[in-house]
């Protein structure tokens, strides 16, 4: 049965990894603004570069 101890400790490590990911995301400000990112991802957008301009105006 002692294998279960190792498994539990391993699972705690995995879980705490997620906890730290959560804490990191909070400090990165991912929970500050929940509206604009959802809109921003819909802008299909490549910054204008000379090459794209030239290819459109041959």
């Amino acid at each position: 049965m002692s294998v279960i101890i190792i498994l539990i400790i391993a699972s705690l490590f995995v879980a705490s990894g997620f906890l730290f990911a959560f804490i990191w995301s909070v400090y990165k400000g991912q929970y500050e603004d929940d509206i604009s990112p959802s809109v921003r991802m819909l802008f299909d957008d490549t910054p204008p570069s000379d090459s794209t301009l030239n290819s459109q105006n041959p």
Binding site: I5, I8, F22, Y31, E32, D33, I35, L42, L53, Q56
Partner: protein
């Protein structure tokens, strides 16, 4: 001639209602962002790069004032605003209150295409802020602000821009606490699970030990980090010798933790760490639920955020910007069209027409002659004027209101009804614990401590706190959905207790867009109109002033050819203008020889001015303030079932008849009220034991808003300046006011209902505890079941009430 209602215009792109001012000749748009996006899509079906380049061609034009933003280039001012600057890039954060739809985000995040100097721009929609990075030597701050202004998002620059950071930090900590508590709670629960199933402990001692100590290790961050707010609050309460709602909770957490440590280290049990961490988790969620308020709304504004940051000072013929707190007596300042007068001053040069409506509640602009005193807070309409400052900003007439005592201390914090309840609850709980202790001391002393601690563990008053936090948190969200933003949850309770509602008139009952004028009768020629305007200009009578400023004849230039002007107070006036006798006034005076009769009564339409030319009746003007839609119906409902109504107006009484007619005789109407008188009116009501809700909009109501038990600011755009208050209400929602009040009244009943439910759980739990039979399993089941059922109950009840009141 009928003025079109604002709601008639709908943005073709995003569907928001708008005022029709922004249009491309065919369709109306709510903002420049929508117009640009719509044009791009309609022209090409796709937003391609080439089309984007067209945006680069837009240039400031029209009424737009470029030098409005020049003060931002002043290094002392810029330093306060800029986040970061090096020789290459500058990072600046602006608050852009006009941002409101996805097109806004699109346009604002493509600033770089409009002006190449902008490296990147990123918006935070929730806070309505933008962070722009631009080339330091390529663009001036004023040019950036002017660009934003031009595309329809004038930055809101005020002194108080740096205050927000702290609350943001504490919000983050609150979220992390929830995360930590949730993590530990679920893992401890998992580790305790085998123990629930095995009736007499696990067979394998080693496993039991490992599980217990792992749980203990996981409980340490819960106890020391996640639960710390409860300990801090309880400690604060105890130091003031007051048993607040957090103290029994902190005590229960402490007892549970200590007993669990004791049981685990002496190997006499597995402890109640699962219940403890679960309680902490649910309570933190409840707190967060209540704390989450609108980011974009600020409740603590005073006059400083209403005034501009700086003003243009003329010194030795040079113009330079000076921040307004540095203005001194004797400074010569220049105030342009639509700008605010920052300090009490004497008019030196120019034509002053000053709109004090926000300061005094008076609706009509006041002309001032050279040498006369003009007051801070007034808005200049027309051409630029030169002024000499006579009083500094903080001692000006208007700002003196802020020296009143009510602003010196925070609103007296009346304790919520929950606090006495929790107090009695705690006392009851301790008596049960003592009785159980005495009983066991006599019968089986070994079980005494077990019984005492069990009682404290199972009967923690958290269900009471949970029901209050979740009820009010949920109600706050419902209020928010209906465009009413509350400062905190206590406001709901205080609103429910109020028995008098005091309204301001201008800007609150009426919408801020002035009065509507309608003409009925024989059509006037342009020459006749001009004559009527000229005579209307002669009098100081409020009706005549409104008539003379009618937008329909803005383009007409009045004549000087006027003779024999005479005014008969209470009747009207007449004069010989350009050879014809013009009479303007009430029916009897103006139309004495007339045979025309209008069938409509006067009072239900507003004020009426009759006009006759050369003794011949021509027609009549109907002047009506635009009252907000549905506001009288809402007031009627409030009067019927909720509270008495008072109306205080800074305006003069020309509309008294109409208001009286609409509001009924049991309403108290007071006109010509100064800000101080409004404050005193509220004070005297409170002295007579009334709980008062004040609903106002302008600076003139600021004192009354502060003095009242609940001050509600009405605003047409959530981004407009609102004085310090407890709640901000969108003007469109005035018609729902009765429903909103009823909802706040329901809050208390919902808390009571859920509290009754929690008593049932407590009785069940206590019956186990006093018998010294509380197993971790019972505690572990009772805790989440009671918490979750209470959360469900209060959410459901809150939503039901909202639906009954036809709220969103």
């Amino acid at each position: 001639m009928i003025v079109k209602a604002y709601s008639d215009y709908v943005c073709i792109h995003c569907g928001e209602s708008c005022n029709g001012k922004i249009n491309n000749g065919m369709y109306s748009f709510c903002c420049e962002g929508c117009m640009q996006v719509y044009l791009l899509i309609s022209e090409t079906d796709v937003c391609d790069v080439e089309q984007m380049q067209k945006l680069a061609g837009i240039r400031p034009k029209g009424r737009f004032v470029q030098d409005k933003w020049n003060y931002l280039d002043e290094p002392t001012i810029a330093r306060k605003l800029v986040n970061y600057q090096d020789s290459k890039h500058t990072h600046i954060q602006f608050s852009l209150p006009q941002m409101h739809c996805s097109s806004c985000i699109w346009l604002l995040e493509h600033l770089g295409r409009i002006n190449g100097a902008v490296v990147s721009s990123k918006v935070d929609f929730d806070k309505k802020e933008i962070v722009v990075v631009y080339g330091t030597d390529k663009l001036k701050l004023s040019e950036l602000a002017a660009l934003l202004d031009y595309i329809g998002y004038p930055p809101a620059v005020s002194y108080k821009d740096n205050e927000k950071k702290e609350t943001q930090q504490s919000n983050r900590n609150e979220i992390i606490r929830i995360g930590v508590a949730g993590f530990c709670f679920s893992n401890i629960m998992m580790l305790s699970f085998p123990d629930y199933l095995a009736s007499d402990g696990l067979d394998e001692k080693l496993l039991e030990h490992v599980f217990s100590y792992l749980s203990l290790g996981l409980a340490i961050p819960v106890f020391f980090y996640a639960a710390s707010p409860f300990f801090i609050q309880a400690w604060k309460g105890l130091r003031q010798k007051w048993l607040n709602i957090d103290s029994p909770i902190a005590f229960a957490i402490l007892v549970t933790f200590l007993r669990s440590i004791y049981e685990i280290t002496t190997d006499s049990g597995t402890g109640y760490l699962d219940s403890m961490s679960g309680i902490v988790f649910f309570m933190l969620v409840g707190r967060w639920f209540q704390l989450k308020t609108q980011n974009a709304v600020s409740f603590e504004r005073d006059y400083k955020s209403y005034f501009p940051m700086s003003t243009l000072v003329i010194k030795d013929g040079m113009r330079q910007y000076k921040t307004i707190d540095k203005l001194d007596k004797g400074d010569q300042i220049l105030v342009r069209n639509q700008e605010l007068i920052p300090a009490d001053s004497i008019l030196k040069k120019g034509q002053a027409l000053i709109d004090y409506s926000f300061v005094t509640g008076e609706n009509e602009p006041v002309p001032a002659v050279q040498g006369s005193l003009v007051y801070a807070g007034g808005k200049q309409l027309g051409t630029g004027i030169e002024l000499e400052v006579v009083r500094t900003v903080s001692t000006s007439h208007l700002t003196r209101l802020w020296n009143n005592d009510v602003f010196q201390h925070n609103k007296n914090k009346e304790e919520s009804f929950i606090h006495p309840w929790s107090y009695y609850f705690s006392i009851g709980l301790f008596s049960v614990a003592i009785i159980a202790a005495i009983y066991w001391q006599m019968h089986d002393p070994t079980k005494t401590w077990k019984a005492i601690t069990s009682v404290l563990i199972v009967a923690c008053p958290c269900s009471l706190l949970l029901s209050a936090t979740f009820t009010f948190g949920n109600l706050m969200r419902i209020f928010g959905r209906n465009d009413m933003y509350l400062k905190n949850a206590n406001v709901i309770e205080k609103m429910g207790d109020a028995d008098v509602v005091v309204f301001d008139k201008t800007g609150t009952l009426t919408s801020s867009s002035g009065s509507a004028i309608q003409y009925e009768g024989e059509v006037l020629t342009e020459e006749e109109m001009l004559k009527v305007k000229t005579i209307a200009l002669q009098s100081n009578h409020p009706l005549s002033k409104i008539l003379s400023s009618w937008s329909e004849w803005d383009s007409l230039k009045e004549t000087d050819d006027i003779h024999g002007f005479k005014e008969i107070p209470g009747k009207g006036m007449e004069a010989n203008i350009g050879g014809s006798i013009i009479k303007l006034g009430n029916h009897g005076y103006t139309w004495e020889e007339s045979l025309i009769e209008y069938t409509k009564g006067e009072s239900d339409e507003g004020a009426v001015i009759y006009v006759s030319i050369d003794g011949k009746a021509k027609g009549r003007f109907i002047l009506q303030q635009k009252y907000r839609e549905g506001v009288f119906e809402a007031i009627y409902q409030i009067k019927r079932s909720i509270a008495a109504i008072h109306v205080l107006s800074g305006d003069n009484s020309w509309e008294e008849g109409y208001l009286r007619h609409r509001l009924g005789n049991d309403t108290i109407l007071k006109f010509g009220q100064s800000p101080q008188e409004k404050l005193e009116h509220i004070q005297s009501l409170q002295k007579n034991g009334h709980k008062v809700i004040m609903i106002g909009d302008g600076l003139n109501d600021a004192g009354a808003l502060q003095q009242s038990n609940v001050g509600i600011s009405v605003t047409d755009l959530s981004n407009h300046f609102t004085p310090a208050c407890d709640a901000i209400l969108s003007g469109k929602q005035m018609s729902k006011l009765d429903g909103l009040f009823n909802l706040s009244k329901a809050g208390k009943a919902i808390v009571a209902a859920s509290f009754a439910l929690s008593i049932v759980y407590n009785i069940v739990g206590l019956s186990f505890a006093t018998k010294a039979l509380l197993s971790p399993l019972v505690a572990a089941i009772l805790m989440p079941v009671s918490s979750i059922s209470i959360i469900l109950l209060v959410t459901l009840l809150g939503n039901l009430v909202a639906r009954r009141e036809a709220l969103k």
